[in-house]
Symmetry: C2
Subunit: 168 residues, 2 copies
């Protein structure tokens, strides 16, 4: 496989993975494109390479900035904005985990906490089953939250170095 073909395939693969995990396909593709670009790219170049409209490119780039995955760059003497992606894989993973926790896990935890407070007759199987399931799920969610919290604070070397001794 030659480089140009490989690039296309990488963008495609990353896009597919994104869409399977609730991230807009185009957003993942733009991210992929910037990940393999040595130089920062303009909106124009991104539009052309991925065959997407100006509006789409603009919104997608804004979202990616919101996710903390890419940054705007200004080049001296130029009016165009350039975009470049953080290439550090560990940062990318952390950033995605951080955003999804904030956007999705936090609201769920809040809702589950509410739901564990429902009162009812302990002899009612309906009530019992409800409380049991919700409480168990709440515990799991809290543990996931705690784990993410620790991971987000961790340094890459610490993470890879120590966790996989345990997961040997």
């Amino acid at each position: 496989m030659e480089l140009e073909e490989a690039k296309k395939k990488f963008i495609e693969t990353w896009g597919k993975l994104g869409s399977e995990w609730g991230i807009n396909r185009t957003m993942a593709q733009v991210h992929a494109l910037l990940l393999i670009s040595p130089e920062a790219l303009t909106t124009e170049e991104i539009m052309k390479t991925l065959s997407i409209s100006r509006g789409n490119a603009n919104m997608t780039l804004r979202d990616l900035i919101g996710w903390g995955l890419i940054e705007k760059q200004h080049k001296a003497g130029e009016r165009k904005e350039y975009f470049h992606a953080d290439k550090d894989t560990w940062n990318i993973a952390r950033q995605v985990a951080k955003e999804r926790r904030k956007r999705e896990l936090d609201p769920v935890l809040k809702a589950l906490d509410e739901l564990t407070k429902v009162e009812g007759d302990v002899n009612n199987p309906e009530y019992q089953t409800f409380i049991n399931s919700v409480t168990d799920i709440n515990k799991l969610a809290k543990n996931v939250d705690k784990t993410l919290d620790t991971m987000l604070k961790a340094e890459e070397s610490w993470f890879w170095g120590s966790i996989f001794k345990i997961f040997k």
Copy 2:
């Protein structure tokens, strides 16, 4: 909040979480309903409770069985099929992780392995950046895979007991 309202809210919350993570909303709702039902339910009951069509209920139940999250049950002397969900949270998490790894992570790993093999001129920045990014992502993906593998084999008590000593 009273029980009936809480049930509705739980089904809604679980459905939303599912759709944010690439799982069909209805599928997550049916799962939620079965999670909080003390008794196994028929297709008819599920249809009625969630206001969904027969076809939708049937396909969704089939999918949930495919994900290993629910089971068919036959009651003596009855022709109807009953469905009940595994209520063990750790099993649910494991089952979802297992299926998604098989369906989504495995193909990506295969694709990335291919892409790291691309040959090119090491003095070409395009090539360098490509290879660096792909190689790094491949390493991360392999580590995720390894972690999942260990988690899937682990017992619940082992998991909660030992990992959170490290993640204290």
